[in-house]
């Protein structure tokens, strides 16, 4: 359609949208706002719908048999739907989102989003002992992906918007906007310095605002104010860290083991397997109804010290088994909520015992339940920063932060030691997918220039004749050489530059005459260089960009102070690929 045929406002609007479409950064930010709002509304609908369905499935005063029948039938029906129509909507949603982000250019189908929304809602409402937050993340990421692809954005832009969807979903599901940002960066992307921080923050903030618009300002858990009763409590919190760490490891191992066993069963049984989880949790729920569902009302009760010690211990053990079986059998639902539940129960158990032994020196079990939530989260999900901020945001209780950090770190390290592979990575491995992890990237970045650098074998003076310089470097193994005078380093000169000058009959001229960089010019240093604390991956990048196989290593305090050189072979040697001095460092 020609523009002159349109009404002027339409043409202007189209022009604005076209300009927006062309400007990637601006478009990403605008779409982050839109995605934040939509994802929040969808996640709120998901939570409310699940609640309404649960109220219908478990009416007040209903028969105890419902607690067996409803989860069994619920998981059977959703299991069939997942198998038949929505195979990518099984499980938590976090590993699936990571697959999409790292492997499929952020591509998640609308069908998967739809399936996740309704199957999860139905299965969680029926009492399956899984959480709603992981699925929310996949729904959020999926919506971001669907919108971006339908707008005709490039795969890079689609990929950039997926984390915004994740953050918006988590902010709405947990009512924790900061933890949502941290989790997205720490777990989904595995990089706290990711370039999409702006859109993630924006989407999370918008999501939180929309959530408050619809549901009002209520924290997920209401807890009485706590304070540290006595410094001896730090020791009890450390014990809680140990218990939380061990409990987390047990949970993760049981879940992975159960899942591995069910994955080995014949293919035809896949649609039936979720019913095993439903029946298991139903049988448990018949005797102990607290095991059913997400169980946040029991978390709140235990936070307020309203559950007796024996029941708390029983709930912790049963929930570990129920969640492991429900997840392992392929039901749709996450492990965030169960992690918090298990943590709260473990915390209350430790706190209950401590309070019974030292009533004057310890707070009530509720305080320990609060810390236990973060502890289990840190131990199971392995995102210690997220867990601290999440608990703070959920409860809005600042006084518990220090004990939480102590306990979290202990649980985190125990989990790291006894279960080397984080749960989401292990789940991905079971699917045969190897995702990049924060640790693998950190390992790569852990190799530094100072581990590969060597003293410069030859340093050329800028006043040296080119012919003489060529004579000095003719046996050298490198393709470039540092040039330094009394003022310090001038830069690097390539052997072929010297050879070219010689061929051009400039053998009697000084190196300074053909060098691009002169300290007396007063310009800032702009020759390629490295510092000792740079990573070797950066060294490789700079070698690639400059075309040099040798780079000078200079002081950060004085860029003209030459500390040594790093050659390509040195870098490869540090990575264990090549032997030092294996061949000349000459660029092709």
């Amino acid at each position: 359609m020609d523009s002159y045929q349109r009404p002027p406002w339409s043409a202007r609007l189209n022009a604005i949208l076209e300009r927006l479409r062309q400007s990637e950064d601006r478009l990403t930010l605008v779409l982050s706002v839109v995605i934040g709002a939509l994802v929040s509304l969808v996640v709120v609908a998901f939570i409310l719908l699940t609640g309404r369905l649960a109220a219908r499935m478990y009416p007040a005063g209903g028969s105890g048999w419902r607690r067996i029948l409803v989860p069994t039938l619920g998981s059977l029906s959703t299991g069939y739907l997942l198998w038949r129509y929505f195979p990518f909507a099984r499980g938590s949603g976090i590993p699936q989102t990571k697959f999409a982000y790292f492997i499929n250019d952020g591509r998640i189908r609308f069908r998967t989003v739809f399936g996740k929304f309704f199957c999860c809602s139905a299965s969680l409402a029926s009492g399956i002992a899984l959480g709603r937050e992981g699925p929310s993340v996949q729904v959020g990421a999926g919506l971001a992906s669907v919108i971006a692809r339908n707008l005709g954005l490039s795969p890079k832009q689609v990929k950039a918007l997926v984390p915004a969807g994740c953050a918006a979903a988590l902010a709405a599901a947990f009512n924790t906007p900061i933890a949502a940002i941290l989790f997205t960066l720490e777990e989904i992307m595995g990089d706290l310095h990711a370039g999409v921080l702006g859109s993630v923050v924006l989407a999370s903030a918008i999501s939180w605002m929309v959530l408050h618009l619809v549901l009002g300002d209520e924290p997920l858990f209401h807890v009485p104010g706590y304070r540290l009763v006595h410094p001896v409590e730090f020791a009890v919190y450390a014990v809680l860290g140990v218990v939380g760490g061990l409990g987390s490891v047990c949970f993760v191992k049981l879940l992975l083991g159960t899942r591995a066993r069910f994955m080995r069963l014949p293919k035809w049984s896949v649609w039936l397997q979720p019913a095993v989880g439903g029946l298991t949790v139903g049988l448990m729920g018949y005797f102990v109804p607290g095991v059913l569902g997400v169980g946040y009302e029991h978390v709140e009760m235990v936070l307020n010290g309203d559950i007796v010690l024996q029941l708390v211990v029983l709930l912790a053990v049963l929930k570990i088994v129920a969640t492991a079986v429900c997840y392992g059998t392929g039901n749709a639902g996450g492990i965030f909520g169960p992690s918090l539940f298990i943590g709260a129960m473990m915390g209350a158990a430790v706190g209950g015992v401590a309070h019974a032994l030292f009533p004057l020196h310890t707070a009530g079990p509720g305080a320990y339940a609060l810390v236990g939530m973060g502890t289990a989260f840190a131990g199971i999900v392995r995102t210690p920063m997220t867990s601290v901020i999440m608990i703070f945001e959920m409860t809005r209780d600042y006084s518990i932060i220090v004990p939480l950090m102590i306990s979290n770190m202990i649980a985190y390290f125990i989990s790291l030691k006894l279960q080397t592979e984080p749960i989401y990575e292990a789940l991905a491995h079971q699917e045969g997918v190897h995702l990049p992890t924060a640790h693998s990237r950190a390992d790569a970045d852990r190799l530094l220039v100072q581990q590969a650098m060597r003293p410069a074998p030859v340093v050329l003076s800028p006043d040296l004749r080119i012919g003489t310089a060529l004579h000095q470097v003719e046996d050298g193994a490198f393709d470039a050489w540092p040039v330094a005078g009394p003022e310090g380093l001038w830069g690097m000169i390539r052997t072929n530059e010297l050879e070219q000058a010689e061929e051009d009959g400039a053998g009697n001229r000084k190196i300074a005459d053909i060098l691009d960089y002169r300290p007396q010019d007063g310009h800032a240093v702009d020759f390629p260089h490295l510092h000792t604390d740079h990573s070797l991956s950066l060294a490789l990048q700079r070698m690639g960009a400059s075309g040099l196989h040798v780079l000078p290593v200079v002081s950060r305090a004085n860029l003209r102070q030459l500390l040594g050189i790093v050659a390509l072979n040195d870098v490869l040697d540090a990575y264990g690929v090549a032997k030092r001095g294996a061949g000349p460092e000459r660029s092709e």
Partner: protein, 368 residues
């Protein structure tokens, strides 16, 4: 890498997204409202059950029900107040205090919460703080029947002060209440009694006289007036009022006891006008006998020499034959001896003899 291919128009997709946002917002609001309504109904049901259980005295179960209601509808102050009341009734004062502290932190003018907090503190024996909360309840905000509730709170405070015998504070609370307290006979009778407890028999007498003006045959008012006159030392008037009360209500045990006490006092009192010297002497001897008996009960078989001397004097006084001319002089001497014995009794006896017994009152009158 493939170039972006806008399969649908950019504008179309954006419009669809905004349409979806609008639709989802409508769905969310519908679901949220439905949930609110259902939650409210469920919470109200639990709360009602909790209140019923409280009335049956099953406070532990009531607490569970009310907590369930609060878990559904957190911000409801009525539920929180009821929970605190149930916790108090169940004897969980620390839990009740914690519940009320949260309530009062969000609204320190909450009259009912302040009143329950005062009751909790009374139960914990923290009277000074309790009185402060009673005052907050008296001057606080009440959702309904504010004046009645404030009066109720003040009467609870008054009862506490009366129980603790804090006469000055009690009087301070009673004075303002006179103007706006209900004018029914029961309340006025109660007020009169409280003035007596506050050590203000004059005001009490005024109140009872007022009642008798409106209801001349009110036995309680006569009894109260009798007590007021008794406290003022007008024993004959008191006797008359007690008799009037008993005439109107012969079964009234309190009036009977009051009259007996009054008459006992009148038979002991040697300071009454118009007594013949012989009668006065006889009463003085009776007082010596009673005070000696009181003192010897406290000292046991081995009194101090000084006290033994007083006992000996008492024996001699009882055995002495006094001529008619020396009766007044002997009566004075006996009263002096009785006074010394009474002082010794107050010193030796633990606890000291009750100050409102007829003997004590007569001895106090003599000391004046």
């Amino acid at each position: 890498m493939a170039a972006p291919s806008p399969a649908r128009s950019f504008l179309g997709t954006i419009s669809l997204v905004f349409l979806a946002i609008g639709a989802m917002f409508a769905i969310d609001m519908f679901l949220a409202n439905t949930q609110r309504v259902e939650s409210h109904v469920a919470a109200a049901r639990l709360f009602r059950q909790g209140r019923d259980l409280m009335q049956l005295g099953r406070n532990a179960e009531a607490i569970e029900q009310i907590k369930g209601a609060i878990a559904i509808e957190r911000g409801n102050r009525d539920y929180l107040r009821a929970l605190a009341q149930a916790q108090l009734s169940a004897g969980h004062t620390a839990a009740a205090e914690s519940t009320l502290a949260d309530l009062l932190q969000s609204d320190s003018t909450d009259g009912l919460a302040s009143l329950i907090m005062a009751r909790v503190l009374v139960k914990e024996g923290r009277f000074a703080e309790a009185i402060s909360y009673f005052h907050r309840a008296v001057y606080g905000h009440w959702n309904q029947a504010a004046a009645d509730n404030q009066l109720r709170a003040r009467f609870e405070l008054i009862d506490l002060l009366a129980q603790r015998n804090s006469k000055e504070e009690l009087l301070a609370e009673l004075l303002p209440i006179q103007d706006y307290a209900p004018s029914d006979l029961k309340t006025r009778t109660r007020l009169g009694g409280l003035f007596l407890l506050a050590g203000s028999p004059v005001r009490a007498a005024e109140v009872f006289r007022g009642i008798l003006r409106d209801a001349p045959s009110n036995a309680d008012a006569f009894d109260g007036l009798g007590e007021a006159e008794f406290d003022r030392g007008n024993y004959l008037l008191a006797q008359r009022d007690f008799q009037a009360a008993l005439r109107l209500a012969p079964d009234q045990q309190a009036a009977r006891q009051d009259l007996d006490r009054c008459e006992e006092l009148l038979t002991l009192d040697p300071t009454l006008r118009g007594l013949a010297p012989a009668e006065r002497l006889g009463r003085s001897l009776k007082l010596v006998e009673l005070t000696q008996k009181q003192t010897s009960q406290c000292t046991g078989p081995n009194p101090s020499p000084e006290l033994q001397e007083l006992f000996d004097q008492a024996v001699r006084a009882a055995e002495a034959h006094v001529s008619a001319a020396r009766q007044s002089e002997a009566a004075e001497s006996n009263l002096d001896l009785a006074e010394q014995l009474w002082q010794a009794a107050r010193k030796e006896c633990a606890p000291p003899p009750p100050s409102d017994s007829p003997l004590a009152l007569v001895m106090a009158r003599i000391a004046q």
